[in-house]
């Protein structure tokens, strides 16, 4: 490149670096005037265009550069970014392939070609390129790249099982052919062991592990050591491993719990039903007993492993029916509580061993009940908290009456207040020592609400938690509980406020956003212009964008740095996020809200349809974290998470499938994009399709029981309504929809208008019939299906019933589902709106059947709006406020009345606002679509 040209290009890079895409485009145009053929400048312009969201224009340039088959680094690099931006990984491979073929001795190009395949998960070609590079450049690492590619291909879900072993065998042959042994490098060693384990070649794996270098690696590399442990287990060498673990515990004072588990596993390894074996195991058990007792005495209060080991040993002995001392379990539990009862984790430690009954349980309960002393020290507080949790865990049904739970809650609160002064001097960043007592009180109230159905107790739970949270600002567990409670109470904005205070970041957007985004369309006021929840959906989805951009880079970097043990994990991580269930739950909620806010048009329908069909091919992974909610409910009742799920229905894969199918059905009816058209217009690569049976249409038609089970009663009504509506109108859509050639010609015309260039890569046969009338007859007009005809009346009845009995969130749920049904009706009938279409296709008789349905729907929605408005007015009254505040008077006067009053003011405001906004939104939608 000439110096002059170089000087002209530099400002382009600068502009790109600083994100000034527009000025980058201007700079490119300047240079292109003088050098119209310069591939690098064209590539850079394409990049600027992609980033400036001018995809159509970028495509034209991009294709030109690709045709020129570039080989220089800068152009390739710029093109790599362009193609990544467009999602065209396959073209990236073709481009690098061609460049590498032209310069087969260029090592860097080879590596880039390899990486391009890695980015596209194209393991087979990646493997071939790596082998070729190994032959050419004789570098060990390229051999390992090809081995790794084989392993990854074997692990790919699309690889048939019978191929897997073959690929692993090939990998093994390659790895053993290496001139230097794998043990020179711990990650190569790890890869080698992975392959041997997969092929069940345990003896050979052991030979490697027993070499001095093998042992050394396991000493310092935990991944390899874990692998060693795994291989020992698979070999069935549990006893041997147990002995080794014992040595580590004794000689190196290792207190890794996994070592203790290995010892226990070894103890019971050879236990069978024969009497001999039982006798033998008795001596083994007593050896382990002696070992753990020794450790527990030696460590005292310094470490829990010894005593916990004894508990685990007794627990297993009981499970195997070889326990010799019926009193030992209780004794150990008592001893553990005695020794570690003032550690915060004592309850969680003991939980697995608490299956006591009869007299044992009575004795244990007595021990706990008598352990309460004055809460004058932090240790005493912790011990009391543990005792409460342990007692509560074993409560029986008869001990869970409203009265019993209420007096328990009162006790928790009074002890909470008693111990609170102990934390007076704590800095604001610290948690109060007594927090868990407030959480216990909140749990008890929620449990009473669940039993009695009386919302008063939810308010009580909220009051004590808000009070405690004000004293302990970082107590995120309380926030999470409050979020659940406020959603149940129909106060979404208060729940959202708490959620935002959690400052959820990075991957937590995936694992925790379900707290506010699950079924959030119920509370969305998007129809009346409030986009709070839609923007929350968009924000939380950012993580998926950065995942697809960044994680891939790390796979590449891991190859460069030869971190083979990490590559499969990076890939899995990327996959879990890419195919996250929450991602698509959020997507669906977003869509459900979007159609209430934006005018439904063919643009929205087309774009959303393509995306929904992509999602429909995903194999979802559920990363949602529900365990994070503390659960101190008795073991015989549902856990706190289950108790506080909105509408009592956890949504998961089945919910996603149900809504996806419904929306795809309606949108593909409303859209002109047939598969043929979509195929031609799609810019990026298709996502890898999981091997599924049946056509899209067959798959859409299936409704499985386990899917239905995740729907609320009203969601189920909606889904059945959509199914009949879609089935009824499908023949008419198919009849009216213009043929692919017409649609493509249309798109081409629009593209040319927009970019000044013809649409590339699409051959358009001249339209045969144009928009003219079809040859075949209009399908016979059929009656409105009963499910469709009766839907809105039914929802009206549901609404009236729940207005008297149900909770506010349920009322909102029924209203939003009815609204959604109306919007989808509008979408499904949009095609038949123009009078000319009706006339040409002789559909007058069909269209007249729409009118009464629409009129009914509008009538029902308007009634609902009026009711919601009345309810909203009631929320605002001072009587209502007094009623709630009075419900929450606690016996203790120490609980600040102001906090309670202020909290409930916010709750009432929020309820009022959501009712009012929902009413407004319903009316707006009625006005927009009542034609």
């Amino acid at each position: 490149m000439s110096v002059a040209l170089d000087r002209q290009i530099r400002p382009i890079y600068d502009a790109l670096d600083t994100g000034s895409h527009k000025s980058a485009i201007t700079e490119c145009n300047k240079v292109l005037k003088k050098h119209p053929k310069n591939a690098l400048v064209k590539a850079l312009k394409a990049l600027a265009l992609v980033r400036y969201q001018k995809v159509e224009e970028a495509l034209v340039l991009c294709d030109e550069v690709l045709e020129s088959k570039p080989t220089d680094d800068s152009t390739l690099n710029a093109m790599m970014h362009v193609l990544r931006g467009l999602g065209r990984h396959k073209d990236m491979i073709t481009m690098y392939d061609a460049a590498y073929k032209k310069q087969p001795t260029n090592e860097e190009l080879g590596a880039q070609t390899f990486f391009a395949n890695v980015r596209a998960n194209n393991w087979k070609s990646a493997q071939q390129i790596a082998s070729k590079m190994y032959k050419q450049f004789q570098e060990d690492r390229y051999l390992y790249w090809s081995v790794m590619s084989n392993v990854l291909q074997a692990n790919d879900t699309n690889t048939p099982p019978e191929m897997r072993t073959l690929l692993y065998k090939l990998a093994l042959r390659l790895i053993t052919s290496a001139p230097t042994p794998s043990s020179v490098h711990s990650d190569r060693f790890y890869l080698h062991l992975t392959i041997l384990r997969e092929l069940s070649e345990y003896d050979e794996a052991m030979t490697l592990l027993e070499t001095p270098t093998g042992r050394n690696i396991c000493e310092i590399n935990l991944a390899c050591n874990e692998m060693r442990r795994d291989i020992m287990r698979l070999r069935g060498a549990l006893e041997e491993e147990g002995k080794r673990a014992e040595q580590r515990i004794l000689e190196r004072s290792d207190r890794n719990w996994l070592e203790f588990l290995s010892v226990v596993d070894g103890t019971f390894a050879s236990l069978t039903d024969s009497e001999d074996a039982k006798e033998q195991s008795a001596s083994k058990i007593s050896n382990t007993l002696a070992l753990f007792t020794k450790i527990s005495v030696q460590d005292g209060r310094k470490d829990r492993s010894g005593l916990l080991g004894l508990l685990e040993l007794e627990h297993r002995a009981r499970k195997h029916g070889v326990s010799t001392d019926p009193a030992r379990l209780l004794r150990l539990i008592e001893q553990y509580f005695e020794t570690f009862g003032d550690k915060a984790c004592c309850f969680e430690d003991l939980k697995p061993y608490l299956s006591l009954d009869g007299e044992d349980l009575a004795t244990w309960t007595k021990v706990l009940e008598t352990c309460f002393s004055a809460l004058s020290s932090i240790e005493a507080v912790r011990r009391a908290i543990n005792a409460h949790k342990l007692l509560r865990y074993n409560l029986s049904a008869s001990e869970l009456s409203v009265d019993a739970e209420s007096s328990r809650a009162t006790l928790y609160i009074s002890q909470y207040l008693e111990g609170l002064p102990l934390g007076k001097a704590l800095p604001a960043t610290e948690l109060q020592h007594v927090d868990d007592l407030a959480i216990l009180a909140g749990s008890a109230f929620v449990n009473i609400w669940k039993v009695s159905g009386d919302e008063k107790y939810l308010y009580k739970a909220a009051a004590i938690l808000e009070f405690a949270l004000a004293k302990s600002k970082q107590a995120f567990q309380m926030r999470l509980m409050l979020i659940r409670i406020y959603r149940l109470l129909g106060a979404p904005s208060v729940a959202l406020e708490h959620y935002r205070l959690l400052r959820v970041k990075q991957v937590q957007n995936d694992t925790l956003s379900h707290f506010v985004l699950s079924r959030c369309s119920t509370f969305s006021l998007a129809a009346s212009g409030d986009l709070t929840f839609t923007s929350e959906c968009l924000e939380s989805s950012q993580i998926y964008v950065s995942n697809s951009q960044e994680t891939n880079d790390y796979v590449i970097r891991a190859f460069s740095a030869e971190k083979y043990s990490q590559i499969p994990q990076f890939i899995l991580f990327e996959d879990w996020l890419e195919n996250s269930l929450q991602r698509d739950i959020t997507k669906l909620e977003y869509l459900r809200m979007r159609i209430t806010h934006e005018t439904i048009s063919s643009d929205i329908v087309d774009l959303e349809l393509i995306e929904l069909k992509f999602i429909f091919d995903r194999l979802h992974h559920d990363n949602r974290d529900f365990q994070i909610l503390l659960n101190y409910q008795p073991k015989i009742v549902e856990d706190f998470n289950t108790q506080t799920l909105l509408f009592d229905k956890p949504e998961g894969h089945g919910w996603v499938w149900s809504f996806l199918k419904s929306y795809i059905k309606v949108f593909s009816h409303a859209s002109d994009l047939s598969d043929v058209v979509e195929e031609k217009l799609l810019v990026g690569d298709r996502p890898q399709v999981s091997p599924k049976t049946g056509s899209l249409k067959d798959r859409l038609a299936q409704r499985k029981d386990e899917e239905i089970a995740e729907l609320t009663r009203d969601e189920l009504s909606l889904i059945s309504y959509i199914d009949s509506l879609a089935e009824w109108l499908e023949p008419f859509h198919d009849y009216v929809r213009p043929p692919a050639s017409v649609v493509l010609a249309d798109v081409a015309k629009n593209t040319e208008l927009k970019t000044g260039l013809p649409l590339r890569g699409v051959d358009i046969p001249p339209p045969q019939n144009g928009h003219g009338k079809k040859e075949e007859e209009t399908p016979p007009i059929t009656d409105v299906p009963e499910v469709v005809a009766g839907f809105f009346e039914n929802m009206k009845t549901r609404f009236e019933d729940s207005k008297h009995a149900g909770s506010l969130s349920e009322i909102l749920h029924i209203a939003t589902i009815t609204q959604e049904a109306f919007l989808l009706f509008t979408t499904e009938t949009m095609r038949f709106k123009p009078a000319s279409v009706v006339k040409i296709h002789k559909l007058g008789n069909l269209v007249t059947k729409f009118k009464p349905i629409r009129a009914l729907a509008v009538g029902v929605l308007k009634d609902m709006a009026a009711s919601l408005e009345r309810l909203s007015a009631q929320e605002g009254t001072s009587e209502k406020r007094k009623e709630i505040v009075d419900a929450c008077v606690f016996e203790s006067s120490e609980i600040d009345h102001d906090i309670i009053t202020n909290t409930f003011k916010k709750v009432i405001e929020s309820r009022k606002k959501v009712l009012e906004g929902m009413a407004k939104g319903l009316l707006k939608i009625c006005t927009t679509y009542d034609y």
Binding site: A223, P352, F476, L572, W576, L577
Partner: protein
């Protein structure tokens, strides 16, 4: 948690990123790529503690400075602890100490680090207590306004010797 299954950094370092979603109360706001970079570059130095359900209850994230990078800091190759945290209900069990020891051991044995350094808020007395009294760190210098909110940091150092 059953005892402490400490070095479970093992089989799923990256998936920890997902699991670590539990740690809502952690103060750090690192980007994913920051984690990935550390895990990949110095895999031996970072550890997590898990409970028996596989939930992460604590972690230490550390890195190395080699001789060149260390130039202005005294020229010796040394380790640096970026971040250490233990879930509140699992405090007072010696977890933080053990996480630190594991990381320090690896700094010494794998990278031949001469010393380890870290930053701590001047106000964080509990942490300073752990570093100084339990682990033997000393305050080497004060960095004014090191933290975003304007608080000063102590730079603490510990010379590494063969400990195990």
């Amino acid at each position: 948690m059953q005892g402490i299954s400490l070095p479970s950094r093992s089989s799923d370092e990256t998936l920890i990123l997902l699991k670590a979603g539990n740690l809502v109360n952690l103060p750090e706001n690192y980007l994913m790529k920051f984690w990935m970079y550390h895990i990949m570059t110095w895999p031996q130095l970072s550890f997590v503690a898990e409970n028996d359900k596989g939930h992460i209850v604590g972690y230490v994230l550390a890195k190395m400075y080699d001789e060149e990078e260390s130039e202005e800091k005294g020229g010796d190759i040394h380790g640096h602890v970026n971040s250490i945290s233990v879930l509140r209900s699992y405090r007072r069990l010696g977890l933080a100490k053990r996480l630190m020891m594991l990381s320090q051991d690896a700094m010494y044995s794998v990278y031949k680090a001469k010393y380890v350094s870290l930053h701590v808020r001047k106000s964080n007395l509990a942490a300073i207590g752990l570093y100084r009294d339990t682990l033997g760190f000393e305050v080497a210098e004060v960095e004014k306004k090191y933290y975003g909110d304007g608080e000063d940091a102590y730079v603490m150092k510990l010379v590494l010797k063969n400990q195990s």
